[in-house]
């Protein structure tokens, strides 16, 4: 088990959130809160969620990403995913929601 790890970098008006480790029931609440804070940041116009370091994701982890996406819409911010082929893209495909996200 690799615990969830979260880090943020700022590049001008973009927040880059690096997510690594396991995204599941145990870590869903932490990621959701983190993403909600990021999209509410008044100095950022877009948030890039880099999930290329995610080693495992289940339906709860997906819910955290979807919730961040919804919150960004409501706050009129852009939320982009940065992915490489792996657990996250596989789950997005099975869940039929790859097209619900925009990508860096």
């Amino acid at each position: 088990m690799t615990p969830l790890s979260l880090a943020t970098e700022r590049q001008d008006a973009t927040l880059r959130v690096r997510v690594s480790g396991e995204l599941d029931l145990m870590s869903e609440a932490e990621l959701t809160a983190y993403l909600l804070r990021a999209v509410a940041d008044p100095s950022a116009t877009s948030v890039v969620v880099d999930v290329s370091g995610v080693e495992f994701i289940d339906s709860c982890g997906l819910r955290a990403l979807l919730t961040g996406r919804e919150a960004a819409d409501r706050a009129d911010r852009e939320l982009l995913l940065a992915t490489t082929a792996g657990p996250v893209t596989r789950l997005l495909d099975i869940a039929g929601v790859r097209g619900w996200f925009r990508y860096e």
Binding site: F56, I57, L66, P87, V97
Partner: protein, 232 residues
């Protein structure tokens, strides 16, 4: 487990076996399955409500019963799941819960069965052809209950007499492939030696595997086989 106890109907020309395993730390689960008899065959349901414990179990039960009411007359799996999606979306002020579901309409034919399969964000069911290979069936549509107006499409498949259909939740993938879930490669390899066997054999094999594992997630499955017998 009481609320989940389910009698699988006896249907002529079909052998149907269900398996249900709840994660180690939970007393109720978010996975669900159902078999609903229809005049010319049945509806087959396997699904997974996101989350764990009571929250997930409540959604799973509601979804199962709601789907049951949509299985009537000349029903279509894609229309049923599209309607279910609107119901679950409409019950929430903003999206907080969703589920995945595989729904198949099965109709008996003299030499097997016809299937129409819709996948609402759910892993592909697998068909074990008597002489191989192991094939995926169904076409992918979005998860259920998150976004209004999501489109659902179904795709056809046939089971010849002896072919076995396996519908399952991702808990089964996790058990077989450690943490590399949502990838069915290992499951398909595990099923290869079971080609040509009965639905009961396949279910027994999976049940033994699940009984011997510490489950981090719930796992549910249905195994269906067209067997010689009364046809429609």
């Amino acid at each position: 487990m009481d609320g989940l106890a389910l009698v699988v109907p006896e249907l002529p020309g079909l052998q149907i076996v269900a398996g249900y395993h709840v994660a180690e730390q939970e007393r109720v689960g978010g996975d669900f399955y159902d078999v609903i008899a229809a005049p010319d065959g049945c509806a087959l349901v396997v699904g997974d409500a996101c989350g764990k414990g009571i929250e997930a179990a409540a959604l799973a039960g509601s979804v199962r019963w709601a789907l049951g009411t949509l299985i009537a007359g000349d029903w279509s799996p894609a229309r049923a799941v599209a309607r279910l999606n609107e119901v679950v979306v409409g019950a929430q002020a903003r999206p907080e819960r969703y589920c995945t579901v595989a729904l198949a309409r099965l109709r008996r034919r003299p030499d097997g069965v016809d299937l129409e399969v819709v996948l609402g964000g759910h892993p592909h069911p697998l068909v074990l052809r008597v002489g191989g290979p192991v094939e995926r069936v169904g076409s992918t549509s979005p998860i259920v209950g998150w976004r209004a107006g999501a489109g659902y499409t179904q795709s056809p498949a046939r089971l010849a007499t002896g072919d076995v259909l396996l519908m399952f939740t991702d808990g089964l993938l996790e058990v077989i492939d450690g943490h590399a879930s949502s990838d069915d490669t290992a499951l398909r390899a595990l099923l290869e030696p079971l080609l040509g066997r009965t639905a009961r054999d396949v279910a027994d094999h999976l049940n033994r595997l699940l009984d011997d594992s510490t489950l981090a997630d719930d796992a549910a499955f249905l195994v269906i086989q067209a067997v010689p017998g009364a046809a429609a």
